[in-house]
């Protein structure tokens, strides 16, 4: 073999090795910085109490309002997304099973929708809110986030549903089930692992997104009791507190960032774990 070929290969291997490990390093470094800064600022008081008087000037209190608010908002949005998305995903995979072109076109559109930035959803949500006569509130936030995460939920669920063999549906039809019964009893059950993954994925996106709730959910120091009250969210609490000139307030932003990152990691890991567990009951 010619020497220059050897050298070319070594050079490329070297470059790609460096690239791979610097990527790994950067990502680990990011997690390290966020955790090391945040864990120092983290305490029971920060997580489990509401902001008290003078909080935004370094006073006592915590970010419980944002944690609970994010949870409310994301649960609401996920429920809404399930109500719209699950039947849609089943429809694509049961009623449209023979129409490959239609299926692919729908998937293509949904994939493209996945890429729309959340600030656009935020602006649209705001316009919608004005149209419906709402003001910045939990409800408006839920609707906006639901719009954002429904395509994600549908596509993630659909990815699993589309691997279910057609024969299974045919077997169900031959036993006298209607299409909807097949969809709910057979296909949904087979795709349960995918459903859980999709659910958690959508929930995680809902918790983490800031730009869509910026003008639709408002912000408050309290935990909302009704749907038309404004609600605080974790990403926004990080964002607002970090822009404060006061060191103590910024510290709490770091703590909130750790809490948020921790939730997201927890959701991702449990999604992987659960989808593996439920996958055991699936006919291959």
């Amino acid at each position: 073999m010619r020497t220059w070929k050897v050298w070319e290969q070594r050079l490329v291997k070297g470059i790609s090795f460096l690239a791979a490990y610097s990527v790994i390093f950067i990502l680990l470094f990011l997690l390290f910085v966020v955790f090391s800064k945040g864990l120092k600022a983290l305490s029971w008081g920060t997580v489990f109490s509401l902001p008290k008087g003078g909080y935004y000037f370094g006073g006592e209190g915590g970010i419980l309002n944002a944690i609970v608010g994010s949870f409310y908002l994301s649960v609401g949005a996920t429920v809404l997304a399930v109500i719209i998305g699950v039947p849609a995903a089943l429809f694509i995979n049961v009623q449209l099973i023979r129409l490959k072109r239609t299926q692919n076109t729908i998937r293509y559109l949904l994939d493209a929708l996945w890429g729309i930035p959340s600030i656009v959803y935020g602006a649209f949500g705001f316009a919608l809110m004005l149209l419906l006569g709402l003001h910045a509130s939990l409800l408006a936030g839920i609707i906006t986030v639901a719009l954002l995460i429904t395509p994600i939920l549908v596509r993630a669920f659909d990815e699993v549903l589309k691997t279910i063999p057609v024969e299974l549906q045919e077997a169900s039809f031959s036993l006298g089930s209607t299409k909807t019964e097949t969809a709910l009893r057979v296909i949904f059950k087979q795709g349960l692992a995918g459903f859980i993954t999709a659910l958690l994925l959508a929930f995680g996106r809902g918790i983490g997104d800031a730009a869509s709730v910026l003008f639709t959910a408002g912000y408050t120091d309290n935990i909302p009791v009704t749907l038309d009250e404004p609600v605080a969210t974790l990403p926004l609490s990080i964002f607002f507190q970090l822009s404060s000139p006061i060191e103590e307030v910024r510290e709490r932003a770091y703590a909130a960032a750790v809490v948020l990152t921790f939730f997201i990691l927890l959701i991702s890991v449990s999604a992987r774990f659960l989808s593996k567990r439920y996958a055991k009951n699936i006919i291959k």
Binding site: M1, V6, V33, I84, V120, A183, P235, I238, I264
Partner: protein
Amino acid sequence: MNRIRRITDILVNVWMRAGLYLLLAIPVLIGVGLYWKAAPIIGGHSLSDLLFSRQWFPMKGEFGFMPFIYSSAYVTVLAFILSAPLCLFAAIYLTQFGKHRLLQVMLPVIDILAGIPSVVYGVWGVLVIVPAVAKYVVPLFGVVSSGYSLLAGGVVLAVMCIPYMLNMLIEVFQTIPVGMKEASLSLGATHWEMVKHVIIRKGFPGILSAFGLGIAKAFGETIAVLMVVGNTLDISVSPFSPGYPLPALIANNYGEMMSIPDYDSALMFAALLLFVIILVINLFFRYFIHKTEKI
């Protein structure tokens, strides 16, 4: 079939259809909704004025989006230059040269990191990148900067795009049939020649798509950039000066725009602009992927 079964069948069917149609209507609704809110400003100004004018004086009714478009393009291109080669080579290493175990460990890690909210990347940018730019990079060039700059925005975006693009690239490289790699090697190609002639050539549409979608993501990213980019109206060539990308404009001003006439409409126009640009990029590159997946 008894009556209850038939009625449930019809009802569920209606529900499924409604869900799907609503879902497919979302992009249309967004487009129409934003256009409707942006109509006053589109009616009152010529499109070329809005897009290419540098005069941004909302109080005087002058809305030139050029500085924002410029900033957006600047940070996006910067992020792309920083992340794309890195991702390409890292994906090649992980799928071709590296140990099998490394890829198995990295795949879920990359997947999880892709789900980390952008605000966390923003926090990291404020903690690490902004001070690093101010303390270490700027003095090298003999300029003064707070660190909140286009460069910081570009770097944070680049890091955000890494897991996203890497994920797609690895997927692209893994779909290339083993038989084709074997053919190249058995004809006497070195490992790198095989990668060059088979993996990169065969995966080229996929690589382009991953890059394109990465660009689209960077272009529309809001919070992380907003936190580090400085948000100052300026058209400057220097990466050390602050910028003001489109998403940051929308996010920053929504609270205060109600008092100035046409301001909310201008912001809706910015959102519409983002929507159209990114939808077009997405449709274009997704089409690539859908085409190649079928083969």
